[in-house]
Symmetry: C2
Amino acid sequence: MNKLLIVGTVAFDAIETPFGKTDKILGGAGTYIGLSASHFNVASAIVSVVGDDFPQEYLDLLTSKNIDTTGIEVVPGGKTFFWSGKYHNDLNSRDTLDTQLNVLADFNPIVPENFKDADVVMLGNLHPNIQIGVLDQMTRKPKLVVLDTMNFWMDCALSELKEVMKRIDVITINDEEARQLSGEYSLVKAAEVIHQMGPKYVVIKKGEHGALLFNDDHVFFAPALPLKEVFDPTGAGDTFAGGFSGYLAQSENISFSNMKNAIIYGSNLASFCVEKFGTERMVNLSEQEVDARLQQFKMLTQFDIELAD
Amino acid sequence: MNKLLIVGTVAFDAIETPFGKTDKILGGAGTYIGLSASHFNVASAIVSVVGDDFPQEYLDLLTSKNIDTTGIEVVPGGKTFFWSGKYHNDLNSRDTLDTQLNVLADFNPIVPENFKDADVVMLGNLHPNIQIGVLDQMTRKPKLVVLDTMNFWMDCALSELKEVMKRIDVITINDEEARQLSGEYSLVKAAEVIHQMGPKYVVIKKGEHGALLFNDDHVFFAPALPLKEVFDPTGAGDTFAGGFSGYLAQSENISFSNMKNAIIYGSNLASFCVEKFGTERMVNLSEQEVDARLQQFKMLTQFDIELAD
């Protein structure tokens, strides 16, 4: 079985949307990536850090999804990373109400021995130096390294971000961040500039407007599934990344053509994530539901115009 | 050969974008629809009105594209409808600088005798009473009636708009207008409400974010082709409608499955429209270019995930 190494926060979130609000619930990029990737036939592990306030039941939940949690350091007396945010009415934008780094401030990632030869490494949104620190521990060059990042690191750690970008194969980034990083408004031009910074593949996430995959002159687009109700967008991007990297780790084929499929699998899983608060929908998601919705994605996007080659 | 009857403005536009500005040039929904539909094997005619300030060369241009212009009334001493607008930097929004209705104020559409039995009627964006006036002249129920409209008529002629909506098969409308007309934010719910108002098919145009086709529980999505540069969005929605209705008039098959193809043909033609100012790109568009870009649309959207049925 192929190995997928995931680096990302395992954390508490408190979320407010127009539909309600939560107390501290399970969150974090690493959590969402792991839950999403658990739908594929891969051995996955999360590298992260929590405080000893982090409930054992949350770790047990991840273990029950066949995710190796030995790389999640528990800091005695430490407090777990906490994020709180409030979404605006259109759910496309949000305000951060509170960020408490806590144990994340001194996070020194330790890759478990048996994952230092992972086939695929999924670097969730974290300080670029942490992402580099993980790559430095790999004993074998991974077949694929995927990096997720955000505007925060462009603002305060751009040179470090540019360093890690030279060592990855795929970057996933949202549209506004792609524009910021490249200085180009057109996403086609932005992808070209970002491609020059290192990654062979550039994935631009547009939230409810879908996702674009660029590779040289090739481009592929996957829509977000139109939903009657989006309840909570938290974790959708990470769920997308987990589906994308999990599928590629399972299939071992990293051609552009197969990466298209990975984009669809990622979009498909993300469509569930937004249907309930936090991780609730992902924790209780059956393979039947996943397959049925993949069929919907096909109906949503596939047509039968025949063209002469 | 099947007949396509087009109703829409034939007009002068003056356009300003971040890339430059034009003097009075050829414009109007009827013009864009006609130019787009001319890429299909149909007999098409435009019903419209202009003043005698409208250059004969513009009418000749339409005729050269095999568009019947006998339904374009030329009002002696009248002035042609004029619209002027300025696009913002992101090209997604614009300010109207000037609107001179001129001969359009008293427009009484006259459908040419030989198009009163048209197979497909494309009602371009105009006062709903004019759209009804055209339908009243048909001597045979068309196989398909497509209506385009805008928020302006929702604001000032809503009851008339609701009347014409009861007599059409397909409505094309943008996302903000769909929300206004339905009172629903979710486009899935908006389409349901609009469907209840009459049209069996609801097409929601999202500009650079593509277009959605709804029919009961079925939904199809076509992206806009990602372009390095969008030069001038004027007429893109009408070009989409012209490709959609022209393709359906040609193929005679109005199943949902074939309507998907029509959405792709419309999106494909619209992708050219925005590449130059006004109608310039559409006037000089070869079938080879259209076919090559259809191939790009397939590569952009088609994937090969096999699923058990």
